[in-house]
């Protein structure tokens, strides 16, 4: 029974809170009327021990004296209202007054009432409240306390209250939107293997910086592939190679470098997506300086990465089949156990994107590297800029860049599926960020 005194002493005297009866009833899970009495009891007990340590506010309810009420009316009212009193437009009706007053004003307020029906302590505070509006903060506190069972607190129950049943809550309603994207990508691409990477896209976005996820990231870039136009993967390789460029033979330390590279690419994705058009123009200049060494290193790296991707895809593939089989309309998922043949194609699919770099010469790679260059420049780059120059010299070999690039792209696209063609076309049409639609027009 004395618990509440302890609680109140703690809250009011120690923590300097203003405690209202509502807050107390929520905090101690007691009826509001009991809480009101507790406040009074504590108030009396404490002030008997040490006078004036507590200041109370009171709530009074009743009828005010009629004379007083008229006075008030005149005071409060503008000239118009006093006219209204002269001409009795309105019936006089009983008026009940609910007052919240501090203890200093209590007697004065009580004297205004002709009949007080009810009085209780509204709040206790360690000091007198200059502005009663402070109590609104307390009211909000009480509102925030978890209220499980209103019956305890004495809120008037209403057995007739009813809520409608929510069909499809908000969460399920909104979440389908994200999965939808995933579902669509595989459908559009109609390339079996890419479906998985596409599905992985989301996790990737969430967990960019994680180093171990590098393999995951690399395959995922096939999904961005679709949105950026098929440059994604090879861009990544380009970057990856660029970073090691200085150390030249870094092919083996792939995990970290590729991580940073892919991280960089991620940035690029978010930042420079709408710049597709520029990719074609700049590369011409940039790709020049590549030399045989670099190319060799790059190829090694790509091979390495591809191997890693295959491995990770096998793992991921089996996971995927468990995770979201519905995502994929075409049942590639069931076979994962014997996935080898099926998974094989994936690297191949990517290969064309890379093949660009490996088979048909540095042209494409060069271009892509250029893409990456942009990014590097965006971020900070002095040193990076120097690297760009090195690439430029290489591009001289393949100066006729822009046209062949498109052709090759189309070839690869055809070799994959017609759907990819769409993708490529879309890319050229500038498909991509919806923001570009709303921007300057």
């Amino acid at each position: 029974m004395e618990d509440y005194k302890q609680y109140l002493a703690q809250k009011i005297l120690t923590e300097d809170w203003v405690v209202t009866y509502r807050f107390l009833s929520r905090a101690l899970r007691v009826h509001v009327n009991t809480a009101k009495e507790m406040l009074y009891d504590f108030y009396k007990w404490q002030n008997d021990k040490r006078p004036d340590t507590l200041r109370a506010t009171y709530m009074i309810y009743g009828t005010k004296k009629i004379l007083v009420r008229q006075d008030e009316d005149v005071e409060m009212a503008n000239p118009q209202a006093s006219e209204a009193i002269d001409a009795p437009f309105s019936d006089i009706v009983p008026t009940y007054s609910l007052s919240l007053v501090s203890q200093e004003q209590l007697q004065e307020s009580l004297s205004k009432y002709s009949k007080v029906a009810s009085i209780h302590i509204y709040s206790l505070a360690p000091h007198s409240l200059k502005d009663l509006q402070i109590l609104t903060d307390m009211a909000r506190q009480a509102f925030k306390l978890p209220t499980t069972d209103d019956k305890v607190y004495g809120t008037i129950a209403n057995p007739n209250a009813w809520k409608r049943e929510r069909r499809g809550g908000t969460i399920p309603a909104s979440s389908p939107l994200e999965p939808k994207i995933e579902v669509n990508t595989p459908v559009k691409q109609e390339v079996k293997p890419t479906a998985k990477p596409a599905a992985k896209e989301e996790p990737k976005i969430n967990s960019k910086p994680a180093v171990p996820s590098v393999p995951t990231k690399t395959p995922t870039s096939t999904a961005p592939l679709k949105r950026q136009g098929s440059s994604g993967i090879s861009q990544m390789f380009a970057k990856a190679t660029m970073k090691p460029k200085k150390p030249a033979t870094k092919a083996t330390d792939s995990p970290t470098t590729s991580a940073s590279a892919s991280g960089a690419e991620d940035n690029k994705n978010s930042g420079a997506m709408s710049d597709d058009g520029e990719d074609d123009t700049q590369p011409v200049v940039d790709v020049k300086h590549e030399d045989g060494n670099a190319r060799q290193a790059r190829r090694d790296r790509q091979a390495e990465l591809r191997r890693m991707m295959e491995e990770s895809d096998e793992e991921e593939g089996s996971e995927k089949s468990v995770d979201n089989p519905e995502d994929d309309p075409m049942d590639e998922e069931p076979p994962p156990p014997d996935a080898e043949p099926e998974l094989e194609p994936e690297p191949k699919v990517e290969e064309p994107a890379e093949v660009v770099s490996s088979t048909s010469g540095g042209r494409r790679k060069g271009r892509r590297r250029v893409v990456r260059k942009k990014q590097v420049m965006d971020e900070n780059g002095y040193l990076v800029t120097i690297q760009e120059q090195g690439w430029e010299s290489f591009s001289e070999d393949d100066t006729p860049a822009p046209l062949p690039k498109i052709k090759q792209q189309q070839q690869t696209v055809k070799s994959e599926t017609t759907a990819k063609l769409k993708k490529g076309a879309a890319k050229e049409a500038g498909q991509g960020n919806i923001m570009s639609f709303f921007s300057k027009k």
């Binding site: 507790m38 009074y40 309810y61 009706v93 004003q105 029906a117 009810s118 209780h120 004495g154």
Partner: protein, 509 residues
């Protein structure tokens, strides 16, 4: 504190440890009529003239019947008062009576013709200025489809007349072509339905089937059984809560109001009284307008950056509506709420305002009726004006724009008189569509009162007022001008048996 001992509901005592009664709220019998609901697919192509035509054809028979009764045997100076069908048929010097629509020609009144002729195509914001000019330059004219005649006479000074109301006047045309008015008749109160006219079969809710059947049985046996059903109930009416994110001057009063309505404040005796309040009607202006203007206008320069998909998030401050939502969601488990929009609320501007969309209330939304269902929600966001039956009484409630607009036409400050006038005109919003923006109704003028309410509430008024008016056929209407809570801190309680009114004022400090 010797005085304190005399107070019955004194909780200044040691905790008694008594078990507290669990109070239950009395049930509310509630049946909204969707008189002012607009179609979802509404067209704005049509002209406004149809509204006046519809109104005239609907109200004219009533006013003519009344005028004919009153003036049947009227003979002034050996000349009997003769009925004239059209305004144009009035002959100079002949004593006659005619009915038509009043049009007020006022210099200060906004005029669409003037706007068009001056090539102003952006409508000016509605102002609170009066149209009424005290210098006598305002002209009262009576018109119908045939023509228009100016009304003169001292009689006109004593009555409230606004554009759009339908009256019958008796008089003679003078040499200036004006009608000297000797007498004037309103259509007066429309027929009043019996109590429980609509909600004979209680439609409390979809789930209460068993209860429904029981009540229907009662219906067959005796209709009077209904009387005790709602007995002792009270309706709480509040207007102008004006939740605000900046102006916290009445935030504490709002909290106290909430605690009062929840039945948590005060002592068990008063709490029992409060438990009789079985419905809360919020008559407009729940959200404060003041702060929206500065926020909307200030950051015009920054706007460009923050616009996304054409939506300027900086121009909207969600806090007031969130506070309002919290307020409602706390109340709703214990009391049903009928919410009318007002001039400041997030609904359409033109009359009749359509319900505030439940999406505004993410917490309270669950209590609304499911979309596209015919059920009545526990939390009912309704039109303004709104008509319905509460505990058997026909209730007409508005957010106050109709009276505020009439107020601009007249010199008096008698809001209740204006409310009474709208009843006697049989038109709840006569100044629509002239100065009160309204939807261009084509087939029906819903502002015409077909049936007389028992209870007529108008929100957003500067001060509280109530009175009872009586009609010739025994109609009794309780008029209540509901004051703005933010300004007066008053709420109105209406007894659902006697329609007696009381009010509760909340003071702090």
């Amino acid at each position: 504190m010797s005085q304190l001992d005399e107070i019955e509901g004194n909780l200044l005592r040691k905790p008694t440890g008594e078990a507290q009664d669990a109070l239950k709220r009395t049930a509310s019998e509630y049946k909204p009529l969707h008189s002012f609901k607009l179609d979802r697919e509404k067209s704005y192509q049509q002209q406004f003239a149809d509204m006046y035509f519809l109104r005239l054809t609907k109200v004219k028979p009533a006013v003519e019947r009344r005028a004919a009764e009153a003036w049947r045997n009227t003979i002034i100076g050996d000349e009997p008062a003769k009925k004239v069908e059209r305004v144009l048929d009035i002959r100079q010097g002949e004593l006659c009576w005619v009915s038509g629509t009043v049009y007020m020609d006022m210099a200060l009144k906004p005029s669409i013709l003037e706007d068009v002729s001056n090539d102003r195509w952006i409508s000016a914001p509605m102002s609170n200025n009066k149209y009424y000019a005290d210098d006598g330059s305002d002209a009262v004219t009576l018109e119908d489809e045939s023509g228009r005649i100016r009304l003169v006479g001292s009689l006109l000074k004593g009555v409230i007349l606004v554009t759009g109301c339908i009256v019958a006047v008796m008089g003679t045309e003078n040499i200036n072509g004006e009608l000297e008015v000797i007498d004037l008749k309103f259509p007066d109160l429309p027929p009043q339905p019996e109590r429980w006219a609509v909600s004979k079969t209680p439609t409390t809710k979809g789930k209460g089937h068993d209860k429904k059947i029981k009540d229907e049985d009662e219906d067959e046996e005796m209709t009077d059984v209904h009387q005790p059903r709602g007995s002792g109930g009270k309706i709480a009416i509040v207007s102008g809560l004006e939740f605000s994110s900046q102006d916290a001057s009445h935030a504490l009063e709002l909290d106290l109001l909430l605690e009062y309505l929840l039945g948590e404040a005060l002592d068990p005796t008063v709490q029992r009284e409060i438990s009789q309040i079985n419905r809360l009607i919020i008559a407009g202006n729940s959200i404060s307008l003041e702060e929206r203007q500065p926020i909307g206008t200030d950051p015009t320069e920054k706007k460009k950056d923050q616009k996304k998909y054409g939506y300027d998030s900086s121009a909207y401050n969600a806090l007031p509506s969130q506070l309002f939502d919290e307020f409602l969601s706390t109340l709703l488990p214990t009391i049903p709420v009928t919410l009318l929009p007002g001039a400041q609320d997030p609904a359409n501007t033109s009359y009749p305002q359509q319900p505030i969309h439940p999406a505004m209330f993410s917490l309270s939304r669950a209590y609304t009726a499911p979309p596209a269902s015919t059920e009545t929600g526990w939390f009912d966001t309704v039109t303004n004006p709104w008509e319905g039956e509460i505990d058997g009484w026909r209730v007409l409630a508005t957010g106050g724009q109709n009276i505020d607009d009439i107020f601009k036409y007249v010199g008096s400050n008698d809001r209740l008189g204006m409310m009474e006038a709208t009843c006697r005109w049989r038109c709840s919003a006569p100044t629509a569509p002239d100065t009160l923006w309204a939807y261009p109704f084509q087939d029906d003028d819903p502002f015409v009162m077909h049936s007389c309410p028992h209870l007529y509430l108008v929100g957003g008024q500067p001060e509280f007022g109530t009175k009872t008016i009586k009609g010739e056929d025994g109609q009794v209407v309780r008029l209540i001008a509901v004051p703005c809570f933010a300004a007066t801190k008053e709420i109105v309680l209406v007894d659902t048996e006697t329609l007696d009114v009381s009010k509760v004022q909340i003071t702090t400090g």
